[in-house]
Amino acid sequence: MARIGVFVCWCGENIARHVDVEAVASGAATLPGVRTALSYKYMCSEPGQALIRRKIAEEGLDAVVVSACSPHMHLRTFRRAAEGAGVNPYRVEMANIREHCSWVHHDRGEATAKAADLVRMAVAKARLDRPLEPICVPVARRVMVVGGGVAGIQAALDVADAGHQVVLLEREPSIGGKMAGLSETFPTLDCSQCILTPRMVEAAQHPNITLHTYSEVEAVEGFVGNFRVTVRKRARYIDVDRCTGCGQCWNSCPSKKNPSEFDYRLGQRTAIYIPFPQAVPARPVIDKDACIKLTKGKCGLCAKRCEAQAVKFDDEDRLVVEEVGAVVVATGYRLYDPRTPAAADGISGYGEYGYGKYADVIDSLQFERLASASGPTAGEIRRPSDGAVPKSIVFVSCVGSRDPAKGLSYCSKVCCMYNAKHAMLYRHKVHDGAAHVFYMDVRAGGKNYDEFVRRAIEQDGARYHRGRVSKITEREGKLIVRGVDTLAGEAITVEADMVVLAAAIRPAEGVERLAQKLGVGYDAFGFLSESHPKLRPVETNAAGVFVCGACQGPKDIPESVAQASAAAAKVLALFSRDELSRDPEIASVNELTCAACFACERSCPYGAVERAELRNGRGEFLKRTARINPGLCMGCGTCVAVCPSKSVDLDGYSETQVYAMLKSLT
């Protein structure tokens, strides 16, 4: 039989005015299992807590009911007090007779009666409280950062500098991400590569950072503090350790006419290549579909030229397992493809703009390459079709963005800024060129952002037209752009030499698959979901998995970097402890009676339910069963509700307890 102490708080007048606390206490004293019941003016005060501790000692109490305010107010306080006197903190209950009673019921009779009921319920529950120990899981102080763009690099360096191991994963042959391909950055117009490349090198050389390029996440097991991530290292056909990056191989490769991914098909590369001169690591890969040796068996020139003998045509994908305590997702973005066939995954294309049909209709990342000193035109603005310098360029905003009819309803946030930047760069490079920008709204919120846009308009003479473009056609080498200026109230037609589409920002290819492996949610567009839009912006609902950068939503560089540092801070906070201790009020399965229908598995928001096998002492198979992973369970109890045989129960809110509370009211 439990030995419960009931402590009724007056909260000064707050409770006592409308509730006869003495009556409540004396009533409680008669309840089964209650050893002592008394009232005091301020239970949360130090003397009040002392009273509780003394009574626990005197009466040898093993459970405590404090009848006072909301548990959200003081449950912690009283748990600590009771624990101090040797009572298991999870055997402390509160009856909320203030917020839910004295403050809202002013008829003393009714209020007192209800208070008595609330205490009765709390006692009934306390009687059945099991002593619980907080769940402790050891933390592997090692983080995996998925994605080696500016966000991933930032997060990796922050954690590494703090002295923890980092595994940095990049799908492409080099880290650097989209930013490495940008020309100059708004609003300062400083050179993108000049900012980024030192950081790339730093990351590669950092003693605490292990780099896996040309690699992807294959599988994820485990939970916060203890993830086992299987990484697929794609065949590079180069022995990275032997290779010196001398360049003999790619200079000798006869297969030269392959579209360069890094230049978004505007430039060409050899079959054995480094994506761009400042690539990190400065080690080539072989494009197995373009390599003559690998496709036809002939050639092999690169191998002959390689003094380090680093070329290995028999290379294969390798799987490596990394044990980490946390994961930071920084997979970034891709641009919406205006050629998208009608209604592929609900998203359709812009046939009316002729992207992919007219060589001189390009997207904004392609323009970045044209404007970049390291680009295919060495920074001269020349149009793809004939290499001529365009005398007029039309920049079209919101291609895909803010276009529910095409399947994307959101604003891509950064296009307004880079459109202004593109117009500026173009005017700086081609003084007699006309830059037209079609926009719906100019969204330039941010430090020195609007000033930047004004500069493009006022000083650099970009011509802004408020309205969408309806159709782009081509005649005698000119692109005929039919748009509108709703401010002038006129439909206008511009004859342009080149058109740049500010295509929407979409999450990187395949991020949904990664999210599923990690148990992270994502929205209808594939952007990863943070656990709270305001208070937990870089955490996810998968404990130990954090997000930063454009994988969570369209972002510019400063925002991505800020978020990356935030994610790093969260990781460091996690790593500041040897063990994670978590609230033990979680679910558990009666594996003997479980029917293994896995309704719980389907309804668990945290993927905390595993399919397991029940075996006897001799390890012989008895039956299949659901099993809760205590590391993942957050204790919502949805599984309890859906279990047909009620083989799951939830500590702290057990079936027995709820029924007992109901019974106490009859």
Binding site: T593, A595, A599, R624, S645, E655, T656
Partner: protein, 280 residues
């Protein structure tokens, strides 16, 4: 058709594609039709097929003893076959270990059972092999739920009175549970104590609790084979309860249990757009 069935059974057993064929048998031409388990090809001619093949044989697929025999073939009607999908979704069987023999069915009993009057699945669709020729008749949902409609036309007090009267007769024999192919729990919730969720006494209170539980546990799962009502010794029309849930599922979520193997089970999945007109 019978011959085709027997031939198929023979082949499956002979080629050892299955270890047991679960079908219908009849001790004497007039005798009652009963489930028949054949493990040897030569016994195949004991199989029968007529308008008395009421029971939903998929119920046996989850039985320990049957599973022990190895891969099974099961004879199903259009109405029964949906059970297979549900069971598969609930990890109670591996579809590839079951050979489903679909029988085109013109209705059971003479005259046909109520469910057969409104059947829109004379020809099984999910079977591995289907015997017999017939076309489907699309039955509008309204027609399928006509009986329920009629019952719901009565005022609430009358409905309550009806059930108090009906359920008072329940003797808690649990035949409804035994026969249900989807009641496969090893320990049924009624047998749970500490705490007892359901009052096990055959009182009105206990009976309400039981039948509410039985019906709701079939929410989004019941395939309307109607066996529970057919076997009830005191003749309580349990299909009314099952139907109310089935219709709600169809109206609110366009969901029919077992209809489409690609669709996730109704309970345990959700959509932000789910209706909530009743929530304030």
């Amino acid at each position: 058709m019978i011959e085709a069935l027997r031939e198929l059974a023979r082949r499956l057993l002979a080629e050892e594609r299955v270890r047991v064929v679960i079908g219908y048998g009849q001790s004497s031409p007039q005798g009652p039709v009963h489930p028949l388990f054949i493990t040897r090809a030569e016994d195949a001619e004991q199989l029968v097929w007529n308008r008395q093949c009421f029971s939903n044989l998929t119920a046996y697929l989850t039985r320990k003893d049957v599973r022990a025999l190895g891969p099974a073939a099961v004879v199903v009607k259009g109405c029964d076959e949906r059970t297979i999908t549900v069971l598969e979704k609930e990890a109670q069987l591996e579809r590839e270990r079951v050979f489903v023999v679909g029988m085109v069915c013109e209705g059971m009993g003479d005259p046909g059972l109520p469910k057969c009057q409104v059947c829109d699945r004379h020809r099984p669709r999910l079977a591995d092999e289907t015997l017999g020729e017939a076309v489907d008749r699309e039955v509008p949902a309204l027609e399928r739920y006509a009986a329920l409609e009629a019952f719901l036309a009565r005022p609430a007090e009358q409905r309550m009175a009806y059930w108090q009267e009906e359920l008072a007769r329940c003797v808690k024999c649990y035949a409804c549970r035994q026969v249900c192919p989807l009641c496969y729990c090893e320990r049924c919730i009624v047998d749970k104590n500490r705490p007892a969720v359901i009052d096990t006494s055959a009182t009105l209170k206990g009976n309400f609790a039981w039948h509410i539980t039985r019906a709701f546990h079939l929410a989004g799962r019941c395939v309307a084979c109607g066996e529970c009502a057919r076997v009830c010794p005191v003749g309580i029309d349990l299909t009314l309860l099952n139907q109310s849930l089935a219709r709600a599922a169809e109206e609110a979520y366009g969901f029919r249990a077992g209809e489409d193997p690609r669709v996730e089970p109704l309970v345990g999945s959700w959509s932000p757009q789910d209706r909530e007109d009743f929530i304030r």
